[in-house]
Amino acid sequence: MKLIKFFLLLLIVFLLSSTKIFSDENKILVDKISKNLRCLICQGQSVYDSQSEFAISMKLLIKEKLDKGNTEKEIYNFLKNQYGDWIVYDPKFDKKTMLLWGFPLILFIFGGILIFRKVFIY
């Protein structure tokens, strides 16, 4: 009887701790996702950093979706669908963002050529 009680107690402790681990994991994920989201009503702040009503609700929504079993990708897709690609800090490469992604590379190549000319040619 004592053994059964012991295992029952062990089971309860295990269940409680696993829920805790799960919720901690979700909290880490909420932080991770919200750091990659732009607070659309703030000036240069992420959802994670902002304490605006918009950001607070957004963090709640992410938590709720994770609790429901949605994946990180599904959450990003949902938010992009509702608010547009601008909400994520890491925009995908397409026709509209070509210049955004390509410009630093062009600058890098241009700068490289300049340095090369300066050092090796002159």
């Binding site: 659309l40 009503i41 918009f54 609700s57 709640l60 709720e64 608010y83 547009g84």
Partner: protein, 176 residues
């Protein structure tokens, strides 16, 4: 000659950059995706402000009327400014105005409606702002124009102005 040309080019480049950046400093713009319209509004249910009963939004969309969701709060000053327009819209028989009380105290919401008048056929409660975020809102006030097929025709961020009012009336008049 070459040096002068480079100098002028650099000067023009930096002056232009400065002007663009300076002008954008004073420009407050909320980004709104173009594809928000013509999308179906998400399904949601919420508590009714007066009866406390859970209401399915789908059941509130009427076939022969233009449905309008207005997100508002008693603590929001611009909401007070747009309220007379909402009162006028409520008089139109082709418009079904639904309020979504955003992060507000129910008592304050009721007091606000008592004081300024209640233009809404139904007032739903969004206590933690989750419904608003789910439907793609930024804050208060915000207004969604929805047709009988539950498609978003238009979204207004900020208070409704005179021109918006006439635009909504135009949408309502298109309904047979």
């Amino acid at each position: 000659m070459k040096k002068n040309f480079t100098f002028i080019l650099l000067l023009v480049f930096f002056s232009l950059s400065f002007i663009i950046l300076y002008l954008s400093l004073n420009k407050v713009e909320t980004y709104v995706p173009k594809k928000i319209t013509n999308k179906n509004i998400i399904k949601f249910s919420a508590q009714d402000l007066f009866s406390n009963q859970e209401v399915d939004f789908n059941n509130l969309v009427v076939k022969d009327k233009l449905t309008i969701i207005n997100i508002w709060a008693s603590w929001c000053q611009p909401c007070r400014n747009e309220h007379p327009f909402l009162m006028k819209l409520a008089d139109n028989k082709k418009i079904n105005l639904i309020g979504l009380s955003y992060k507000d105290n129910n008592k304050n919401s009721k007091k606000f409606l008592d004081e300024y008048g209640n233009p809404f056929s139904k007032v739903l409660v969004d206590k933690d702002g989750l419904i608003s975020i789910n439907i793609g809102a930024y804050g208060v006030p915000e207004t969604y124009i929805i047709n009988a097929d539950k498609k978003i025709l238009k979204k207004y961020i900020g208070p409704i102005k005179k021109e918006n009012y006439f635009e909504i009336i135009g949408h309502a008049n298109e309904i047979n």
